[in-house]
Amino acid sequence: MIMNRTCPPLRLALLVAFVLSVALPLAAQEPAEPAAVEDEQADETAADGEEQADETEAEEEEKPPIPPGAELEVSPTELTLEVGDKATLTASVVGDDGETIEGVDIVFFSRNRRRLGVNPAGELEAHGPGEVTVIALVPKEVEDEPRRAEALLRVEVEVTIPNPPVESVEIVDLPGAFYAGTHLPLHARVVDITDVVRDNVDVTYSSSDTGVAAPDGFGGLDLVAPGQTTLTATAEDASYQVEIAVAPNPTERLEVTASADNARTGDVVRFEAVGLDRDGDAVDDLPIRFLVAGTPSARILAPGAAAQIEQDGAFVAERSGIYTVTAVAGNHSASHPVRITPRHVNKDIEFVGQGKVSDRRTSDLWVWEGTDGNDYAITGTWGAEGHAYVWDVTNPESIVLIDAVRVDARTVNDVKVSEDGRVAVISREGASNRKNGFVVLDVSEPQVGVRILSRFDDQLRGGVHNVFIHDEHVYALSNGRRFDVISIEDPTQPYRVGRFELETPGHSIHDVWVVDGVAFTSNWDDGVVAIDVGGAGMGGAPNNPVQLGSYAYPSGWNHAAYPYRSESTGKFYVFAGDEAFPYGELGRDPRAAPPRAAGWIHVISWDDWENPREVARYQVPEAGTHNLWIEDDIMYVAYYNGGLRVVDVSGELRGDLYRQGREIGMFMPFDPDALVPNAPFVWGPQPYKEHIFFSDWHSGLWAVRLKDPDDPNRIIGEPH
């Protein structure tokens, strides 16, 4: 944005012209409107082949020369604005003789225009808190020093915009009763004058009678003795008061019960505590805290944190030993011990067979039983020539490549096969004609050959990264923005029936998985979104997807999601996988080591669409997740550099599954003849019949199987 330092009337005229042309508030935050739009006449004229300007060119001004030694002077050079404040920067170019040089173009811009806008006249408007730099510059002439692309003169103005004042504070989530001798955590809701709920404001608490209730200085409240007191919360100049009446604690004793006295590492033991009065009746609203202490197994040296208990009473141990869970309410406490033994789920994973692909990268896989009763797999290729490979995996010890389909694409990232095993869909990215979309294949007779039934690219030309087949419909991602639903009831003539797109700013979808008429999408910052496409009873259908709920987490790494109802508990979980490469390595050079990934599996308890809750994680340190699969309460995770991981996810899930000894086994597909030798980069797993198949980016298709350890007493490292 520019201010032309001309005589005041012209400057004013330019400002007015600017305001009128952009028709935007002063800040001109996001995107400016076109200055003008062609009219009908121009269009008609153009159709006749006689193009015509729709505007006349603005008068060009002769720019004055700027002598050496001139300086750009901007005032003020720093200032403080409250949110909503406006101010004007004055700027001029002054020669070394001290004279102002008129008619010089001075450009203004803000390095954070969402917090601070600036217009061509140097007028500022503060929109949000922060430290923002405004730049004023004078372009150089083309004849000036050409060796750098930079302005002739430049000044930075630092603008401080403090947080808006707090409008209100309120103490929330207070219990219905207050009992002497107990302790309460306090929670406050702070709102500033811009109606933003703030969590970065110090809140202090006080009590009018600390002999009744006394803040502990750590955000909690000690209820000391029966009586009345006024509790006050203060945040900046705002305060909130509430009268509380502390009653005598009627509790005579606490009782603690556990769902089990013996369990394994990783098992969730449910503790319940209740305060009882002298009549043996439960005391309502009694704040009870759970604590855990224990002695890990003597064979475990320096065990670290060995167990946890959450305040809902869910206990889980990472190490074997004897633990004591204690419930505390005021002066009353009660304990219950629990014995934890090692989980002992580990198995060996042995190599069975490999369909080697070492001249290009392998992407996803799908394994299915063919209509002829044999077993087949299809794999995609990445950054190559658009191939999908079809394998006979009936004998996993001897995986045989039986066909290859080549489409116009550089990457076939995803491959899926219909429930009846007759139709496959492969995604296309990097098509030479940039049409992309997906291709439907007839895989009903793989031994005879796989043939292309149809191609579908309408409105999918930006690339289809992932697909899913469910009930004769293809759910295909479009350009990373939405999923489209395409009927393949007649696979030779696919047609679109619906689509779903989030409305959040900057949304981006990465994957879709459909189970029982509910689609689960993975959306980076927007996390996992559940959508009814006919199975949730919320009015959804393939042609009318209806959002059910969503769950996002702070990293914004959500890349995959696998919905799963636990066979052992009936609880419904979504296992959300990350994808992240935060170490700045791109590592596509086949001669070099592959990049390192990060991220883990987030376990989301989602029995209520509106109340998903992240309850557990499976995280392999120093490695990162890609795709996953869950079957029979066992999770299979492609962990990129961390190889294939097999994890026991039976029972209720809480805490850190990796540290709980739930990992059944791991397999690192080292291959000296791989595209990148001996560099596992596992892409996707699929358990199938008695084997586990997985694709590896550098080495193709693998088959392995679990087996009991050769020496069950052999311990690598320490027991759990």
Binding site: V22, E30, D48, D54, R147, G386, G506
Partner: protein
Amino acid sequence: MRVPTSWLPPRAAPAAFVTAAALVPAALVPGPVRAETDPVPPSREYHAYVCAESEDEVALIRFGPSGIELLKTITVGSFPAEIEGPHGINISAGGRHWYVSIAHGTPFGSIHKYETGTDEWLGDVKVGMFPATLDIAATTGLLFVVNSDFYGDHVPSTISVVETSSMTEIAQLATGTMPHGARLSRDGRKLYSVNMMDDELVEVDALRFEVRRRLKLGAKPGASAAHGDHGDHQTAASHGGAHAGGAVEPSWVTPPTADGLLYITALSGNAIYEIDTGEWKVTRRFDTPAGPYNAAVGPDERLLVVTYKKSDSIGFWDLEAGSEVARLATTRRIPHGVAITSDGRFSLVTVEGIGGEPGVVEVYDNGALRRVARIDIGKQAGGIALWEAN
């Protein structure tokens, strides 16, 4: 890898040329090739940074007396397991930095800054949907990139303005549907871009960051009224939502000449438009083979070299005469970008290739009107910028 240059390649092969010429009406077949000389080896070296869009690589190549050579490849992007698509590339005045647009993100693309020579990554900034062509003003250091949004719903998109010293997006202005091509005037005060799906040229005030003028480009009589999708080299297939105007689909605009003339390629209109920025009107229109896509004007402002994306050839135009003086088939399919050396002697052309084929950089002698060198690079060669190392 070094590929020796053949200084006596066959002239524009008659058979190949006939094939290309047969694609256009007889009246459009150009006149005799006016090759002035046999190719003369270069007396100096030229360097170019070239995008390989389906490889997520930028190649640094050297062309000189000893031939053409791939000096190195630089992997670009942020996600090793996703193809992110480096599309546009340019080098700042003085040659200290190169900038590349990374088309795909989650969902927004980005601009990455590197130091020339060391090719050290210096920073990046998120911009809009599918950023493509970019240019950097020598007089301000500001970078302008079109957010082409090739695959969106054909709604108006934007041009981002980036302060290159801090790699901060400082403005984003709506310009039109599928903006492509972005070239600044030499003084850095005006930016020219074309909206492929609006069939218009836009002049942006590069100091105020606002659209200053628009010019509608009309189709020649009889042209299809439907737009193809970007890069559709096979057919200008209809697309839902295509506007009701003629199918010009302007895809590139050259920087203004000293006389204020711009040259615009019309990907679906099969023409080149000459625009007088002073008069703000079309002064000439040249019919071309199918799919003129990128173009470059030589330093003498007489030669225009055009890639014909849908015809697998390039054209050399005499701007004074307004005629195509030579048309040469490329060695692979889908020619894309073109850059002319600062001495005007050579044109470097990128060719995408099909599927798993390597991309190609081809070098043409602008005097002899012959291809004198070629070298394979990563898949889908696209944006190209000459680095005049100082």
